[in-house]
Amino acid sequence: MARFAEPMARLIEELRKLPGIGTKSAQRMAFHILRASEADAEALADAVRDLKAKLRLCSVCNNITDVDPCIYCASPTRNQRLVCVVEEPTSIASVEKSRGYNGVYHVLHGTLSPLHGVGPEHLRTGNLLVRVERGEVDEVILATSPTVEGEATAAYLADLLRPLKVRATRIATGVPAGSDIEYADEVTMTRAIEGRREV
């Protein structure tokens, strides 16, 4: 590998740590930044610095936010008594896409995962339980993935919520819209039937 001046080598080394970036891409990026205007380079550096300095977890729902509470928790038009529990902050975008949901969120930052050493004591559930215990919540929608770990997590949360006398619901899973039911496997089909609704 060619030898670079120390600041260049350092930037390449840092860029190489990003997902999907190899040595060659890192070098291309580093040279691009070197050729860029002073202002552009500053803007990039500031953006990186601000990301860590200004973002934190919402104290109410654990969403990643620059204001606390986050925009959902602070919204006067959202139903603050309806809470949708998701695995990751990125899952919020998926629920929001539906446009049909007007409640708020709770982010777990993961699922129970025996193979990754994540047990019940590691899930971020404390502030959710506080909200429920204070009587601030009417319904908790468990929107973890329909995987082994997502189902185990939903079951664990349902057990936690049961004695608190709050309505807990699980999202329906079934045949994806726009697909042929011929392609649905047996588990998906069973769930689609279980989750059927009146028309």
Binding site: L112, S113, P114, L115, H116, G117, G119, P120, P146, T147, V148, E149, E151, A152, T153, A155, Y156, D159, P176, S179, Y183, A184, D185, E186, V187, T188, T190
Partner: protein
Amino acid sequence: MFMHVDDGRRPANRVSRKSTCVGQENGFGQGNWQRGVRAAPRAVRNVAIPGWDCLDAGYALNVTTHRIESIVLKSWPLHEADLVVSLLTREAGKIKGIAKSGLKSRRRFGGALEPMTYVLASYAEKPRQELVRLDSCEIVASPLSEEMDYGRAAALAFYTEVLEEALPDRDPQDAIFRLTLAVLAHTRKGHIWMPVTYFSLWIPRLLGWLPELGRCTVCEEPLTGRGGYFHAEMDGLVCETHRPAGARMLTAESLALAQTMFRQPVAKFAASEGEAAWPAARAADLRRFTTQSLERHLERRLRSVEALRRLAKA
């Protein structure tokens, strides 16, 4: 989605992809796919390889396709959309395959790639290639068709981790395959300790890691009816005289239970035991003995064993 080997309607921009096509990257094909595809006789063209648009005649002739019973062990992402899947197949042992678009195409694989799903896996392979190309998995039995909780997830994780770590690639072990299916059928919510214990006892036995339990491994004195001692640094059990410092006791009751488990298939054993008979505390010493044996032979701690230990204490 099947990309048939048919050059007629292939858009022009595909030609420019020849330098990055998957087959060439993996050394499957030589030369450009255009020539290969055009040269391929009709019969070979019908060996349609889904998603592989750089097939050539030489490759197609060497491809063998399989559709065999398998248990999914685990999968992890490769590049943007693909998945690498580790499968325990009945006839070919443990294999790894690439599920093209496995991350995106939920329609093709759906929930079939969840760990411990019993599937009929269709895959194609070429001699001397380590990774097969996984085309589809039809679910025969899914762990998701029954209620899930953390305990059941931990038990499934234990089977997964042990099989993934302990079995060498491409070494068929029919007995282990059957054992796994059998214990899976008995691993239910609130009822995991019997199947976990049964599995943890039989796996080291089937892998030849467990000496006969009825006698002291030093002096051969019979232990049946008295129990024995075990230690993280040694195989098998010893009598009181030969117990090393730090050894733990395996009670006479747990030893008898192990001997019964060796004599009976899991279904028969389960029927004779009854559902309620297995709290976490039962035969905990036997599980510690067997999981220690597994961990010593694997030369590493198993995360799922730790999860099970914490669960048993809770």
